[in-house]
Symmetry: C2
Subunit: 144 residues, 2 copies
DNA sequence: CGCCATGTAAGTATCTTGGTTACGCTGCTA
DNA sequence: TAGCAGCGTAACCAAGATACTTACATGGCG
């Protein structure tokens, strides 16, 4: 089972921005700086920031001295929101090739599974909404 | 977000075997026959059946006239069990490269996320346990 | 104007997944 | 006992996804 690490990285980034904000250390952080923490390339971070920006979770500024800043109070951003912002598609993946429609099972299986599977996924996201970026940032700061 | 379709295919296969059993149509089904319904190659099915067999969810027989049969009453197999049998690893994927340990956030983020994320996943699997193969088979048979 | 930063496009390497071929073994049946 | 039908696995291949990288246009500040 393989999916993307975008969600975890997004939480990492937002948590970093939250820590900076809570500690009043700096106004904005460059993608270079964030990339250093995540251990990746600044372009990867900028792409991700673009997605988060469209979701209203961060603000960015171009130009010299620019960078990213958290878009809202950390306690008002839940992991569920981050998940929905960056992760597209369902946790569950249906058949590559359409199942055989001449078989009663093949013809109806996807439809029959839709409800229980989307329900299970919804429950998971619901659970993610119980944790906020502030919660995560707090945990980190306790270790510092 | 990309993962495998193994889970859905496994449910498809088990549902097919359940329908056959509930309708008392045949004793066992060949991988060829199953592959026809799933619209894939028999080898893919045999591989999957191997996994399901190890989990006790199906029984197989070699030789002429052999094939697969559901290993237990359909109402005693939940989607959660199928999920755990075929899907390895977590829904959430952590950083490709280890985050920068010189950064307080990078050094602690994975640890801080472990609990909320594994919790969310557990809740999802818990929800899957509310649906059985019989439930799915029943839905299919209502369409026949 | 020069510098530092974002935004984005385009190309590449690596990994995962599923499809496919091949072949040995098992067990039925004529 | 020969032949056939089926499973079990290994090995290879094609396609797709993911993230890394280079490159460059744009924006804003001194």
């Amino acid at each position: 089972m393989k999916s993307s690490s975008k969600f975890v990285v997004a939480v990492h980034v937002l948590t970093g921005l939250a820590v900076v904000r809570l500690k009043k250390k700096a106004d904005s952080i460059s993608s270079q700086n964030i990339a250093w923490s995540v251990n990746t390339n600044p372009v990867v971070i900028r792409r991700l920031l673009g997605t988060l920006k469209r979701a209203g979770l961060v603000e960015t500024e171009s130009g010299s001295g620019g960078g990213a800043r958290i878009g809202r109070s950390p306690e008002k951003i839940t992991l569920a929101e981050v998940y929905k912002a960056v992760e597209e598609g369902s946790v569950f993946h249906y058949h590559y090739a359409t199942p055989n429609q001449d078989c009663p099972v093949g013809a109806n299986i996807q439809d029959a599974l839709h409800e229980p599977l989307s329900q299970a996924e919804a429950v998971m996201i619901e659970d993610l909404s119980r944790t906020t970026i502030k919660d995560v940032a707090q945990k980190i700061m306790n270790q510092m």
